[in-house]
C-alpha cells in the first residue's frame, strides 16, 4: 500500500482571505481518511482543491500518482466525488443522471445497466429511477448523488458531508456502503460534521482549524494524545469542566480531590473532546 493522495504546501486565498493557509497530508491507499473541522475551517475548499474543482494558490497535489498540474485528466479518472451540495441535472431523470455520469466516466456500456441495477437496489432507489430530480426529496437527491459518484468504481472516493440531510436509517445505510467500498479496496476521503461518524468510520482523521491541520492521527492516537480518560465535573461557578488523564487511575485520584458535593463522572475520552481542545474551544485541559 502506497500513498494515493498527497498534498504539499496547499494554500488557497480568495481576494486576500486565506481560506487554506497550509496543508500537508498524505493518505494511504485503502484507508478511510476523515477531515474534521468547524465551519469555515477550510474543509470544503481543501476537498475542492484535491478534486480539481479549485486551483490552489500554491502547493502540489498528487492523486493516484498523477500530478494535478500535469495529468489532471488521468487523476480525475481515479476519483469519484459526492459534493456537499446536490449537483444533479434537474432537467433529466434519476436514471439518466446516473447513466450520464457513467458515460462521462467512460464505463463500458455493457456494464452500465448491471451496475445501475446493483446500486439502485442497494440504495433502494428503484421506485424513483424514472422521476425527475425536482420530484425527489433531499434525502433521495443525496442518494442519487452518491450512486453517481460510485458508479464508475473509483479508486478514491471523496465524500463532502455525505450524510448531511439524511435520516438515521439512510445514514447507517451509507456507512455500510462506505465500509463495503473500503473493504473492496476503495480509498475514502471524508469530510463530516458528525464526529461520531469520523470516529466510527475513519482509520485516520485530520482536524482542520483556520485553514491548517491542527491534529492528525488515528482516532485512538488523537484521543491518547490528550489523555485517554476524561473527568467531567462542575466547578464552583457551576460550569461544566472536563479534564483528561492518561489512565483511569489518575482520573480517579483527581476525582478524590474534588469536593464531596461535586457532580462528576469518569469516562473514555472521545474524538469530540479532542476536536474541542485542538480547535480552541473553551475547555480546561487537565493532567495529561
Amino acid at each position: 500500500m502506497g500513498i494515493i493522495i498527497k498534498a504539499e504546501g496547499l494554500k488557497k486565498s480568495f481576494d486576500g482571505f486565506e481560506a487554506v493557509r497550509c496543508i500537508d497530508i498524505e493518505v494511504e491507499e485503502g484507508e478511510v481518511f476523515g477531515f474534521l473541522g468547524p465551519n469555515g475551517a477550510g474543509k470544503t475548499t481543501s476537498i475542492r482543491m484535491l478534486t480539481t474543482m479549485v486551483r490552489p494558490t500554491s502547493g502540489n497535489i498528487t492523486i493516484n500518482g498523477f500530478s494535478l498540474d500535469k495529468d489532471m485528466t488521468e487523476a480525475k479518472a481515479s476519483i469519484g466525488v459526492c459534493q456537499q451540495h446536490i449537483s444533479l441535472d434537474k432537467d433529466i431523470t434519476v436514471r439518466q443522471n446516473i447513466k450520464h455520469h457513467a458515460i462521462l466516466h467512460k464505463m463500458p456500456s455493457k456494464e452500465i445497466a448491471a451496475r445501475m441495477d446493483e446500486l439502485s437496489e442497494f440504495m433502494c432507489l428503484g421506485p424513483h429511477m424514472d422521476k425527475k430530480i425536482t420530484e425527489l426529496s433531499g434525502g433521495w437527491k443525496r442518494k442519487t448523488s452518491i450512486v453517481c459518484s460510485i458508479m464508475h468504481k473509483p479508486k478514491i472516493l471523496f465524500l463532502d458531508e455525505p450524510t448531511a440531510g439524511l435520516d438515521t436509517k439512510s445514514r447507517h445505510m451509507l456507512w455500510d456502503l462506505i465500509r463495503q467500498l473500503n473493504r473492496s479496496g476503495t480509498t475514502i476521503f471524508l469530510t463530516t460534521h458528525y464526529i461520531e461518524e469520523a470516529e466510527d468510520l475513519c482509520d485516520r482523521v485530520a482536524i482542520l482549524n483556520q485553514g491548517t491541520v491542527v491534529a492528525l492521527g488515528s482516532p485512538k492516537e488523537l484521543r491518547d494524545s490528550i489523555g485517554g480518560m476524561t473527568v467531567e465535573y462542575s466547578d464552583d461557578a457551576g460550569r461544566k469542566v472536563m479534564r483528561q488523564f492518561p489512565d483511569r487511575q489518575s482520573g480517579k485520584e483527581f476525582m478524590a480531590t474534588l469536593g464531596e458535593n461535586t457532580t462528576m463522572s469518569l469516562r473514555r475520552t472521545t474524538l469530540e473532546d479532542v476536536f474541542l481542545i485542538v480547535t480552541g474551544e473553551e475547555y480546561s485541559k487537565g493532567g495529561a
Partner: protein, 254 residues
C-alpha cells in the same frame, strides 16, 4: 491545446452532450416551436408587411430575406438556449461542476456543450428552409448552404457557452442579449442590404459575427458570387470563440 485528437474529442463530446440530448429528445416539439416563433414572425412581418410596400415587390423581398432569416435562426436558436443552459447548470444545478470532475478534455466539453445548440440551430434552419422553398421556390439549396448553417450555428453556440461561463447572474445575460444579440439580429444585413446604410455604419456592421453567415448564406441561396472573406471571418469567429471557451474551462475561470 496539444490534447485535441479528433476521434477522441468527438467521442468525448458526445458523452458530454448525452444529457442535453436526452432533454432535447424529450422536449423536441417545445424546443423547436420556441425557437421558430421569432424567425417566422420576422418573415411574416418584414416579408409580407414591409415587403409589400417595396418597389421590387413582395416576392423579391421575401426571396432576399429568407437567407437573412435562416442566418438569424442560427443565432436565435442557439445563443440564448446555450447561454441560459450553461448558466443554470453552473449556478443553480451545479451539474457543470460534475462535468468538470469527469476525465473529459476541455476541448470535448466545449464541443459537447455546443452540440445540442448546433442541433437546435440546424433543425430550426431546416424548417425555415422548407417554408422558404414553399413560398419562394427559386432559392438554391446546396451542400454548401448546410455547411454554412452548421458553422454559423456552431459559432453562436460557442458564443453562448462563452456568455454562459462569464455571466455571474441571469441579469448579465439579459443585458448582453439586449445590447449585443438583439441589435445584431436586425443590423447584420438580415432584413436590408448593408450597402444601403452609410459607410461608417456599414463598416461597424461588418465587425459583427452575424453579418458574415448572412452574406454567405444569401450568396449561396440567391446564386451570387461567394463572399469568401465573410466565410473566412465566420470561421475565424468560430475558432476564436472555441479558443476562449477552451481556456475558460481549462483554467476554470468562471
Amino acid at each position: 491545446m496539444h490534447d485535441i485528437r479528433l476521434p477522441r474529442v468527438l467521442d468525448e463530446a458526445y458523452r458530454v452532450a448525452w444529457g442535453d440530448l436526452c432533454y432535447f429528445r424529450e422536449n423536441v416539439a417545445t424546443i423547436l416551436l420556441s425557437c421558430l416563433v421569432g424567425p417566422l414572425l420576422y418573415l411574416i412581418a418584414f416579408g409580407y408587411g414591409i415587403g409589400s410596400g417595396m418597389e421590387k415587390g413582395v416576392d423579391d423581398y421575401i426571396r432576399f430575406i429568407i437567407p437573412g432569416i435562416i442566418s438569424m435562426a442560427t443565432l436565435s436558436a442557439t445563443f440564448s438556449f446555450i447561454s441560459s443552459k450553461i448558466l443554470i447548470q453552473k449556478l443553480f444545478y451545479a451539474s457543470f461542476d460534475e462535468l468538470m470532475l469527469c476525465p473529459i478534455r476541455p476541448s470535448s466539453v466545449v464541443l459537447g456543450k455546443s452540440l445540442v445548440g448546433v442541433l437546435r440551430g440546424m433543425c430550426s434552419c431546416a424548417i425555415i428552409l422548407m417554408i422558404g422553398i414553399l413560398i419562394s421556390p427559386g432559392i438554391k439549396v446546396t451542400a454548401t448552404l448546410f455547411l454554412l448553417m452548421f458553422v454559423s450555428s456552431l459559432t453562436f453556440s460557442l458564443l453562448g457557452i462563452l456568455a454562459g461561463l462569464i455571466a455571474k447572474k441571469h441579469n448579465s445575460l439579459t443585458v448582453f442579449s439586449s445590447l449585443v444579440i438583439v441589435p445584431m439580429t436586425f443590423f447584420c444585413g438580415t432584413i436590408f442590404e448593408i450597402s444601403n446604410v452609410p459607410a461608417p455604419l456599414g463598416y461597424a456592421i461588418y465587425t459583427l459575427p452575424l453579418t458574415h453567415p448572412t452574406e454567405s448564406i444569401r450568396a449561396v441561396m440567391l446564386d451570387l458570387p461567394m463572399p469568401w472573406l465573410s466565410v473566412l471571418i465566420l470561421c475565424a469567429y468560430c475558432v476564436l470563440f472555441f479558443i476562449l471557451d477552451y481556456h475558460l474551462i481549462k483554467r476554470r475561470s468562471f
